[in-house]
């Protein structure tokens, strides 16, 4: 479409976020989602507990956002790629990355604890929105290679939508028509800054209009809805339909990280109101309403959660082996003579 064919305007996103829990939907996936949500909540709790024990340097919890995390991972096909931000360890874990590996960055023994190619999960990305162009490039490369079973899902936050890289990535994605889906987890805050001070747009999904891609809004605490919207967008992407921007409306129940004091910028009432919309209990209630919350399901979910937590405590409870010599090992394929010299000098001092 050329700019001059202006008659064909793209439609605006729906005003109401898409939801499924409150309707009369297909519930076949719900038990699986439920188990993952319970496990995901446990993951967040355990990771936060590990910060208190000094076992993690820092942890940005996704408590309250588990529906997004879990649905994002489960919506992916086997050859799809996930591009998480620093808050998305749970999505990586749900995708299959070992918890101890997914938490490597935050434990602090190395920058990324896993091989991105093994699970098709890019390294957790801290500089905001900077991984979005990577997602676009990888999706583009997959298309160039003819791999039409590959789509890319990139996760980012409401605050990150203000960064230039967000803009450049979405524009590239639309112009190149790549198989990429951008999920903005609008959790209400960028550290202390509320989304109302981040944008004047009616919704973050409206940003899609300026790129000429569809924008969708979904209830981010409704796991089946997030799963459905992402699945549709990823299917469309793989089928050559181009990129989609999805805004999931959710809330960060915990502070920005364990070192943040969220009482400085938001009220207990606000947090409580969102606790009423907790994605885990909401799915539990919906399952119960449909007579699906069996004891067996509950027990299975809890056992899986506890197994995960126990594994995390075991794996992260001891100090990792450290080799300072490794500092020089991965800067280049072959250390430069100069680096070899520094490594030698270092070894000389510590020998």
């Amino acid at each position: 479409m050329t700019v001059d064919q202006a008659a064909a305007l793209s439609p605006l996103p729906d005003a109401e976020p898409f939801g499924l829990l409150d309707g009369a939907p297909d519930t076949s996936l719900w038990p699986l989602l439920y188990r993952h949500l319970v496990r995901g909540r446990r993951f967040n709790e355990q990771a936060t507990a590990l910060t208190r024990q000094g076992r993690l340097a820092v942890y940005p919890s996704s408590a309250g956002q588990e529906a997004c995390q879990v649905a994002a991972a489960l919506a992916l096909g086997p050859r799809d790629w996930l591009f998480p931000s620093y808050r998305d360890t749970l999505a990586a874990v749900t995708r299959g990355v070992e918890p101890v590996a997914a938490l490597g960055l935050l434990r602090g023994d190395w920058h990324s604890g896993y091989d991105p190619r093994a699970h098709r999960v890019a390294p957790l990305c801290t500089p905001l929105a900077t991984h979005l162009p990577h997602a676009v490039g990888l999706a583009h490369a997959a298309r160039l290679r003819g791999d039409d079973d590959v789509a890319v899902l990139a996760l980012t936050g409401d605050g990150s939508t203000s960064e230039g890289d967000f803009h450049e990535a979405l524009n590239f994605a639309a112009v190149w028509h790549v198989p990429a889906v951008f999920l903005v987890q609008n959790n209400g805050f960028a550290v202390s800054v509320p989304v109302a001070r981040q944008t004047a747009a009616p919704t973050l999904a409206h940003k899609a209009v300026g790129y000429g891609m569809p924008g969708r809004r979904v209830d981010g605490n409704d796991a089946p809805a997030v799963h459905r919207v992402l699945t549709e967008a990823l299917d469309r992407a793989r089928a050559g339909g181009g990129p989609t921007l999805v805004e999931a409306v959710t809330y960060r129940l915990e502070p920005h990280t364990n070192t943040d004091d969220a009482t400085r910028y938001r009220s207990a009432q606000e947090v409580d109101a969102w606790r009423q919309r907790d994605p885990v209990t909401r799915l539990a209630s919906a399952l119960a309403r449909h007579g699906l919350l069996t004891d067996g399901l509950r027990r299975q979910a809890e056992e899986e959660a506890e197994r995960l937590a126990a594994g995390m405590r075991a794996a992260l409870g001891t100090d990792p082996p450290l080799d300072p010599g490794e500092l020089f090992a991965h800067v280049y394929a072959e250390p430069t003579p100069h680096l070899r010299q520094q490594a030698r000098a270092y070894r000389g001092r510590t020998a």
Binding site: H111, S160, V191, S192, R197, L322, L327, Q342
Partner: protein
């Protein structure tokens, strides 16, 4: 210029006082950045400013470093004195084009017609157990950019004094705050430093001179102390401003000792220490008993927290370098 009675304060608090006093003294001073308002900044350096001066004087911005710095350029063009907070060193990179192509050049481009009184505060350096992208030392980029002043305090008194001076400057200043000294405490009089470009002799010493700045100062002072056991009398110079550079103080000391070691956290290759070593050598060559040595971070991306202690210059490496200054002759 404001003066306070000596009471023990942290560097973070001294910076906070500097901002408050500057804002009280001049209504043109505006603080802006992500989380500087209600939260008071990630390191609490802007604490209380929004409450005291209103959110138009201390403003939470959208998350866009180039946008904030660029907006600050426009504000400065209109006569304000913006002070921009960057959250961590590595998050200044998205604003690099604004910094290099505009902030550093506006005065020069306009033949002096449009000065740019603008301060960019950047927490820098490691040693706080931060994860990836939270420990960078990128002063090499700033010192290589003509048009910027590059300033970094190493003491609580300088944190206040140099920041007041930076905000009062009619030129842009990159103000580098050593993260790991935010909680360092001193009982000291807080007053503005009268001018940039004066290094401080923090310790006199006759056998060799340690040249450092920011987070390197406590390490060098510790090394000097430890060096006494080896029989060395080590002087320590705190550069305070990397641009302008105080050749006079530095060269006077090095000429006296004939031996110098530059110490900084930033990577060594093409780091600020290269310039320091090169210019000291150019100016003091006949006095030198040995080449100026550098003790710096390795030439690697900043390491993960569990390994950072191996990367950071410590007393041992500094004394090794001192020992290498040809003591046999």
């Amino acid at each position: 210029m404001s003066a306070r009675a000596p009471e023990p304060v942290t560097m973070a608090r001294a910076l906070n006082c500097a901002l408050r006093d500057a804002m009280a003294a001049d209504p043109a001073v505006h603080v802006l950045g992500a989380d500087v308002g209600t939260l008071g900044g990630l390191f609490r350096v802007t604490e209380g400013l929004a409450a005291e001066f209103g959110d138009q004087r201390c403003t939470d911005t959208p998350l866009a470093e180039a946008g904030v710095l660029g907006a600050a350029v426009g504000m400065a063009m209109y006569g304000l004195r913006p002070v921009v907070e960057i959250q961590f060193d590595a998050f200044a990179y998205p604003a690099f084009e604004q910094l290099v192509s505009h902030v550093a050049r506006m005065r020069n481009r306009t033949r002096g017609a449009v000065p740019l009184p603008l301060t960019v505060r950047v927490p820098y350096g490691g040693g706080i157990g931060g994860v990836e992208h939270h420990g960078d030392s990128s002063e090499a980029y700033y010192v290589a950019t003509p048009g910027l002043h590059v300033v970094t305090p190493a003491t609580v008194a300088d944190a206040y004094g140099l920041l007041r001076r930076a905000i009062a400057s009619d030129d842009p200043v990159v103000f580098l705050e050593p993260k790991r000294l935010y909680q360092a405490t001193e009982a000291t009089v807080l007053r503005e430093v009268p001018e940039f470009g004066r290094a401080a002799v923090r310790r006199e010493g006759a056998s060799a001179t340690l040249l450092t700045y920011g987070p390197g100062l406590p390490v060098c002072l510790a090394a000097a102390e430890a060096g006494r056991e080896a029989g060395w009398d080590l002087g320590v110079i705190d550069l305070r401003t990397l641009v302008p550079f105080d050749d006079e103080t530095v060269c006077a000391a090095v000429r006296r000792t004939g031996r110098a070691v530059v110490v900084h956290e930033a990577a060594g290759f093409a780091g600020p220490g290269a310039e320091i070593a090169a210019r000291v050598t150019e100016r003091c060559f006949p006095y030198l008993h040995a080449p100026v040595r550098r003790v710096t971070g390795f030439d690697i991306p900043y390491p993960p927290p569990m390994l950072e202690s191996h990367h950071l210059p410590g007393v041992g490496r500094i004394l090794d370098a001192v020992a290498g200054l040809q003591w046999e002759d």
